[in-house]
Amino acid sequence: MNCDNALHLLGLEHDGRLPASDRRRLDDHVASCTACAAEKRWLARLGDVAGSLVDRETPPDLAARIAAGATGPGTRERTPLRAVPLLRTAAAFLLVLALGGVVGYGLGDDGRPVEAAPSVVQRDEAAFRTLLKDRLDLASPDIERLVEIRRRHDALLADVERRRAEARSELERAEIRELWNALPEAARGRLAAIDPHFVPAPTERR
């Protein structure tokens, strides 16, 4: 066993995935290799401190505040991230007034996919309208214009998310393809037997 194999197996051992058949060979190698013994100590140390990194402490009322903020009419006690879209929406409103109907494009990021079913979407839009009407005291035509801006941006955002998912998927396929193509012919069959996930689709093989 060389050090490359041992390092790989040490990672699996650390994660409790070391095949029993490799145990003896790995122990023998680590016993005689300073570098791999050090790697084993590093993994143990990492596992040791990882437990102390877990920090789930939250203020007792955080869950209630978050739930109320998410489902409420667009207002939250602490809204650093959502303040940005709100300001952008307000800016869009001013722009609409200043330019007599020319609307800003891509304003009002809210992360909502356009294909969402009506229940939550309609409730959210109603909350947005309430916010514009009751808190900003806007007239109906202005409200409709702002809602339309928001809808348009939702569509853009959904498109971006779709493209992002496609790009990620393509990258994963490329990785598998490249790994496969870099393998010696004889090793491919063995890898396919170990983990079929690494085998690219027939049309993607070189």
Partner: protein
Amino acid sequence: MFRKLMTASTPTTPNPSADEDRVLVAKARRGDEDAFRALVEKHLARVVGVARAYTRRRSDAEDIAQETWWKVWRKLDTFREGASFTAWLYRVTINCASDWVELRSNRRHTDIEEFERLPVADDTVSPLTGMAKAEFAKAVRDAIAELPEPFRSSIVLREIEGLSYEEISEITDVPIGTVESRIFRARSRLKAVLEARGLRP
């Protein structure tokens, strides 16, 4: 394609917690705010735990958690029925945390190329002599926060959340072989960062 293969080979076992999630999600999708609040209370610690690995300040982690749940509420209708709510929640959390880091910091993470240029530590440097475990833990936390994606999320889910490869595969939507590779590389990069800072674990 790979996800289907993996899922097919994974035995299904009864999971009362997941069943409870399914009921709460179904109610929340119909606009039941109490059900949504129950979901938040049940899973908030999980979300904060992941967010905390992306930030140095607890208040920032709370912001990420707030953003995450806001998106969860808005996207509940896109959640695929029968899927794991926990896995989906992890995915939303990781995306929010990554976006938060990108938006709020000026390149706080290190690019992959920068890792390749990191200097190798001097062998004569003392291995953590005199360094308290808490200090080392802080150094590890900072180093994890600076890892580029997807290595950061892989190491967070494995080392901090303690998830299995199968669970990480489901969350990140990549084959188990890729999960294994990412975790291996993430640990190597983490070690390189710590060594470059004079720490020899």
